[in-house]
Symmetry: C2
Subunit: 203 residues, 2 copies
């Protein structure tokens, strides 16, 4: 057999397969990824130097599939909200990969370019230099947690005994029992954070 | 050999081992848990009915090791802040278990009792019934994301090129490079959320 005309592996295929694997398993190993791609681990090493580069490819795939062009000339509240919603969509599509992606250092220049845009938005909006990274980090932590909540069951609290938990019972009576539970919570939280950030700015 | 005088397995040992396993592996299976405990899977089934009950034991272990008595008679901001800090400490001790614990339904009565306290705090504080679960969910999402950030490297953004990312560079110059990076972000985010929640109340 001759060589296939399209390469069996390319970097986007590796990134996509790694995302799928980490999403399903919560972890990522080279042997498991090679198996998922139907190749030997040695073949994988022809394309990537190791685990760190695979995580970069996963991030690149996320950005390519959900990124799109942003309007960074908006006021900071609007720009930050747009960014947060895109980010949530990306992570909610691959919740199992959240812990891995959230804890691996960000060395990729395309990620630095994205954070540069957000940092410029905040500094132009009036935030002090020492507030920029905390604001970004807080928003990211909220987004990562919300991505997990979006894939959690619509009804997280069930079989609550009304006689021993009357306040909780009342609260649950006023809580949607479908997908809108998590998306409504995200909207309220994003609004609360933007209000809190505005307050930081006014101090 | 006679029966050991102390049982090889008890429910707390199972919960603790499951937490440790999920923390390290990101996942939890009965065979892996039985192996970690040095017993056959069938022995495990003498103590628990299955995976759901093991997740309950993990939650119980978290509550037992980090819970402590809370002063629920404080104003809602103080009560919510105390609860958030305890919750963060519990999850930061077992970050790998976060996705599992965050997405499994909460059926345990001791968890319902805890949520009842928080719901009562918020309703007494003046929140509307339909705001209670969103406020709790938002805080939890932020806490879960922050727990992952606390175990992430102190320097998440490295090798940033100052010529192409000047705003990001300035922001990073004003960001701690040790453990305080994540804890300071948590403090700022918690403050921002409480401000935003206060604003909800005033509307």
């Amino acid at each position: 057999m001759g060589r296939p005309r399209t390469p069996l592996l390319d970097r986007r295929r590796i990134g996509a397969a790694a995302l799928k694997l980490a999403d399903g398993k919560g972890t990522l190993t080279i042997p498991a990824l090679a198996k998922a791609l139907g190749v030997a681990p040695s073949a994988l090493y022809h394309h990537v130097s190791g685990r760190d580069e695979i995580i970069s490819l996963m991030r690149e795939e996320l950005v390519l599939t959900t990124g799109g062009e942003k309007d960074w000339s908006q006021p900071w509240e609007r720009g930050l909200e747009d960014w947060a919603r895109t980010y949530l969509a990306a992570f909610a599509a691959h919740p199992g990969a959240v812990p891995l992606l959230a804890t691996a250092p960000l060395t990729e220049s395309f990620m630095h370019a994205m954070y540069e845009k957000v940092a410029e938005l905040l500094i132009t909006g009036g935030f002090a230099a020492d507030q920029v990274m905390p604001v970004i980090t807080v928003l990211e932590s909220f987004i990562l947690g919300s991505a997990l909540d979006l894939v959690a069951p619509s009804v997280m609290l069930s079989d609550v005994a009304r006689d021993t938990a009357p306040h909780l019972g009342t609260a649950l009576d006023h809580t949607p029992t479908d997908h809108s539970r998590a998306s409504r919570a995200f909207d309220i939280g994003l609004r609360a954070l933007l209000t809190g950030f505005r307050d930081l700015l006014d101090q």
